[in-house]
């Protein structure tokens, strides 16, 4: 055990921060208010990610043969921390580099790798994730969207829900049932579907957490070539499991929460409230919670860096990260009081971002189930 940063990682963070500070526009605060899925941010991401890619900082942790430079998981984490905490100028593309690219690397055909990986590494392609369905939320394996073979195509019918970023996306990482007789995790497959496929329709679901945050995607006789299937037919669950273990660590929410908390302390100081013991206690409590989430995420990165299989440590980190996000989101409202209620206020924007923490990417209750079973070894009945 040792807990220091490598010198090259520290230098990398410094260089990255300097680049980000000089690259983000003066009105970035305004641009980033709507979150990574907003019109403004998705558009900006194409420009920003291309510049990151020029420096080799979009996919440094990828193998060199796919446009990376074999950097450690730690450098990838540094990128995540610094960018997500600034409101994620990579927009939806953080998903590409975190898990969509790595999953294509693992399961893709040579043609799929040639088609998708260079574009992801260049930073000019947007993806969305077609997992949840109206009847398959936390219970993802209840999915019903059907893809039936017809010659060299699958004909896809069904619908996906809660899909973020799909209004800008070029492709969808689509989970479908290819064996209509199958149940649960058997008989499902992954399709890499272009979003301009005829028969794909999108409807925004208006939401209190932000504009253009959620969508429903309707698939009506959408034809997707069988060559676009990722991994084995009917055994796509192994692909999804691989993708989820990368996705679940997800965005470093703890870092955004910690940065927000620093800003809250500044605001409390400006308002002359930082000397109040109660305010100090609230800030100190929240800081400790953010720090626990950080070190627990590092625990997961350590396992990944050493190439070990995913463990329930990632579920522990997710629960801690959710708690950090929520604690700071609520504290922002409490500290700023009724001023927080004005649309677009600092506290308002952060609170809305924090609202989804315990639901997005697998509900907290699902994480707790996994911790109870795999980490504590409690009995099933």
């Amino acid at each position: 055990m040792e807990f220091g940063w490598q010198e090259q990682d520290e230098r990398f963070r410094e260089a990255l921060v300097a680049f980000v500070d000089e690259t983000l526009p003066a009105d970035w605060g305004e641009v980033s208010k709507g979150g990574p899925g907003s019109e403004a941010q998705a558009a900006f991401s194409r420009e920003f990610c291309a510049r990151l890619a020029e420096r080799g900082w979009l996919t440094p942790h990828w193998p060199a043969e796919y446009g990376g430079r074999d950097a450690s998981a730690w450098q990838h984490a540094i990128i995540g921390e610094e960018l997500w905490s600034r409101g994620e100028p990579r927009g939806p593309q953080y998903m590409n580099v975190n898990w969509i690219g790595p999953t294509i690397m693992q399961f893709g055909s040579e043609a799929q790798k040639r088609e998708h990986l260079p574009r992801i590494a260049a930073g000019d392609v947007l993806w969305c994730q077609g997992f949840s369905e109206p009847e398959a939320g936390s219970d993802l394996v209840a999915l019903r969207t059907l893809a039936l073979r017809d010659g060299d195509d699958y004909v896809v019918n069904g619908s996906k829900i809660w899909t973020s970023y799909c209004d800008h996306a070029d492709y969808c990482f689509l989970l479908v049932r290819t064996d209509p007789e199958s149940q649960r995790h058997h008989g499902v497959s992954i399709l890499l579907m272009p979003m301009d496929t005829p028969g794909v329709e999108i409807r925004e679901i208006p939401a209190v957490v932000g504009e253009k945050y959620f969508h429903e995607v309707f698939l009506s006789d959408a034809r997707v070539p069988t060559a676009s299937r990722l991994g084995p037919e009917h055994d796509g669950w192994s692909v999804v499991s691989y993708a989820l273990q990368y996705e679940r660590v997800g965005a470093p929410r703890y870092q955004r929460a910690a940065r927000t908390l620093d800003r809250l302390a500044d605001l409390a100081r400006e308002r002359g409230r930082l000397d109040e013991p109660a305010v100090q206690e609230q800030l100190g409590r929240a800081r400790a919670i953010c720090e626990a989430a950080r070190v627990l995420s590092y625990r997961v990165l350590d396992l990944r860096e050493r190439g070990l299989p995913p463990s329930a440590d990632s579920n522990v980190a997710r629960v801690a990260g959710t708690l950090a996000d929520r604690t700071v989101g609520e504290l922002a409202l409490e500290l700023l009081g009724e001023d927080a209620l004005e649309s677009g206020s600092f506290a308002d924007a952060n609170f809305r971002m924090s609202m989804t923490a315990g639901v997005a990417v697998g509900a907290t209750e699902v994480q707790l189930n996994l911790i109870a079973g795999r980490f504590l070894g409690l009995p099933r009945e």
């Binding site: 100090q280 409590r285 800081r287 626990a292 629960v319 189930n369 109870a372 409690l378």
Partner: protein, 311 residues
């Protein structure tokens, strides 16, 4: 960063586990608690095996000392290993005659291990003091919270070797780390014994630990314990810098309250009895979370270190 034990650390962990297996454990702790006695046999065994100066070694330091202190707490050891092996060595760079107690000047409440301590490390305003305790300096205080306790006579607060200005802050840093470390080992044992019991105990025709309502609460406890674990180890490796020490003390004090509440609630009536081991650890969580003026003080100390909110 690397989160697994290296060879030296693994050897230390294995050796201390073997020693604790022989000398410590809940039965021994319960026996000593009934008499409010200190475990001099365990202390001597730890000393003889070289575990009290691990923090000062060439191949080991505060992290390794913290691992030992965590293991001792997990085995319900009735020894001042946190104060002796982490705080004294961190503050002074040397060992002091043990047992070791920690106090703030003027502290009127009972102090863990003070009744048996030969050395008191005292935070006195801006400075730390190393006070050799004499018979008569400490009055035994009866307490049912798992540690032998003593109240320090006001006269003892004024004596001893005075360290340099600013040394009190360093004492508090190491103290906060050691406190969190002991809390960690104690919480882990509470969780272990509760998971074991609820996996075996059947009601309504099934193991109680198979109910989701129960599982979620234990899983949330596990998150608290894991968070404390890695914060403690990270802070120890860094040598207990002020902000990290306050962070882990604040986090551990919060976690301790939750672990006490949940492990007792979920264990039901058996958890309140002396026939079940839970109390050997759980009752200790209260003095641990009250020490150093309690969770509110740790949180304020953290805010002060992080944002400079000097009053």
């Amino acid at each position: 960063m690397y989160f697994e034990p290296n060879e030296v650390q693994q050897a230390i962990l294995d050796a201390v586990a073997a020693l604790l297996e022989q000398y410590a454990g809940p039965a021994r702790a319960i026996e000593l608690a009934a008499k409010q006695e200190y475990d001099f046999a365990l202390d001597a065994a730890l000393e003889e095996a070289g575990f009290t100066d691990v923090a000062l070694g060439e191949e080991s330091g505060p992290l390794e000392a913290a691992l030992i202190s965590e293991a001792v707490a997990r085995a319900a050891g009735v020894v001042s290993s946190g104060a002796a092996a982490l705080v004294a060595t961190g503050l002074l760079g040397r060992k002091v005659p043990g047992p070791v107690a920690l106090a703030m000047r003027g502290q009127s409440g009972p102090v863990r291990y003070a009744a048996h301590a030969r050395t008191l490390l005292l935070a006195d305003g801006d400075v730390a003091r190393v006070v050799p305790l004499e018979p008569g300096d400490v009055e035994r205080v009866p307490s049912g919270y798992g540690y032998p306790m003593g109240r320090i006579a006001p006269g003892a607060f004024a004596s001893g070797e005075q360290l340099e200005p600013g040394s009190a802050a360093r004492l508090l840093d190491w103290w906060r780390l050691a406190l969190a470390c002991e809390t960690l080992g104690t919480m882990q044992a509470c969780l272990d014994v509760t998971v074991r019991y609820l996996s075996a105990r059947r009601q309504f025709g099934r193991a109680i630990g198979s109910f989701q309502a129960v599982q979620h609460r234990l899983a949330e406890c596990a998150v608290q314990v894991e968070g404390t674990r890695w914060l403690v180890r990270e802070a120890a490796w860094h040598g207990a810098p002020a902000e990290r020490a306050a962070t882990v003390a604040a986090y551990a004090a919060d976690a301790a309250a939750q672990l006490f509440r949940e492990t007792h609630q979920l264990s039901g009536a058996i958890g309140f009895t002396r026939e079940h081991d839970l109390h050997a650890w759980s009752m200790r969580l209260q003095p641990l979370r009250l020490e150093l003026d309690g969770v509110a003080a740790q949180r304020r100390a953290l805010a002060l270190e992080r944002w400079g909110t000097a009053r």
